[in-house]
Symmetry: C2
Subunit: 222 residues, 2 copies
DNA sequence: GTTAAATATGAATGAATTTTCATTATTGTT
DNA sequence: AACAATAATGAAAATTCATTCATATTTAAC
């Protein structure tokens, strides 16, 4: 999880960096609000921690800037200002949480997780290795570009990825993808699997959809 | 905003109810965790406030129950337990925030807003009056049932609702819905508007898509 | 290896969707 | 009111999609 910390107190910043590093989370430190905005323009983070009082541009201004630019990235204010009016201002401006110094690192970490979990659980992307399904735009992105799938193919791939690693019977596939409680007497499923295979395996290079004789299909996860 | 409060201390519960009522938010009070779960089964809320220590079923158990049942509804723990380990436990279990008693009502209200805002901004539904677009399932629900829209019609309606109340030029519509940076020499847009009008206005009864001569279209919001 | 069941495939069909076009209606301007 | 520009409409054409069918291939069990 990539974390951006905007904090002018070097001691606090480094202590945080050390703690996050122990959990395996890379941290980038901006020494003021201006630098934070600069970083945000080119790098993408999972969460942003902002001190309120900083040189040049304050944390609350950075928060306002981020939300006005349309980004929904999780923001946590991390400041010594403990007055209710400050908290209310920050939260109403679009901050997701407000933690007052001094704080426990464990609590901060838990709050970050809560906020990031909520953010990510609601993203409309389904990611498998380097295949990304945009569930709203109904597009499939891979490092080699976009694959164009028809409606049924997209639904089927979505079902496969959601149930990757376990065998999916044709009954279940028909129920979910075709909305019928029986396996059609024809071979629509096989035919659609065929077309889907052609499109994604051409792009991906290797076999992803395995047939399990007599049982169904298996989307391979290594 | 419908709020469920699970709190066995009647005084606190009633004080909260009064405060929320002043802001125009209806509140339901459960006197223990069991009652909270009972309410949750039949009524839908926008946010849930849980006391930790309660008779029969504790708040943390209610929280666990809600998340295990698959619901993503915002949950705030509201308790006297101020230890970090309690906060961490609750947040890791799926709570969105943790507020310790005594607390400022204004801060609580701001935290509720933050959590609900994040929840709602990420739902995959676009709601306009009593028309609901399911952006993932690509279905349109109205009180009279489902309307079936074709792909382009759905995209167009989505664009209209997202930009309701302001005039949309054909250039912008073409860019967003058809993915082209010019207005086609033919009248695809008008033709699709026609079909969309037929389908939703039949169902809705009144004119929703207004043509602005020489400028574009306007989705009416009263 | 043979066999029967299951799955894969290419091509064809049929259905739905998107787009086009010719015509009619509406709007704002003079 | 007449005109020109813009928008609406119905129906046809073109395209895309989902499904079917006949045939080929693969699989597991004997």
């Amino acid at each position: 999880m990539e974390i951006l910390i905007a904090e002018d107190d070097e001691q606090i910043a480094n202590s945080l960096r050390k703690n996050f590093a122990e959990d395996g989370n890379p941290v980038m430190i901006a020494k003021d609000g201006e630098e934070a905005i600069h970083f945000l323009k080119s790098i993408s983070f999972d969460v942003i921690l902002l001190d309120w009082r900083m040189p040049k541009v304050s944390g609350i201004e950075v928060c306002r800037y981020i939300r006005e630019s349309g980004s929904k990235i999780p923001i946590i204010l991390l400041t010594a200002l403990s007055q209710v009016k400050n908290k209310v201002e920050a939260l109403n401006l679009g901050a997701d949480d407000y933690v007052t110094k001094p704080f426990s690192f464990d609590e901060l970490a838990a709050r970050i997780n809560a906020v990031v979990r909520r953010y990510q659980s609601n993203t409309n992307e389904l990611i498998f290795n380097d295949i990304t399904l945009d569930l709203i735009g109904r597009k499939v992105k891979t490092p080699r570009g976009e694959i164009y799938l028809s409606g049924k193919e997209f639904d089927l791939l979505k079902y496969f990825i959601l149930h990757k690693g376990s065998i999916m019977s044709k009954e279940d596939i028909c129920k979910e993808v075709w909305g019928v409680n029986f396996v059609p007497s024809t071979n629509v499923v096989e035919a659609t699997v065929k077309n889907l295979r052609r499109k994604i395996e051409d792009n991906y290079g290797k076999n992803l959809i395995k047939s399990i004789y007599g049982e169904g299909y298996l989307f391979i996860v290594e």
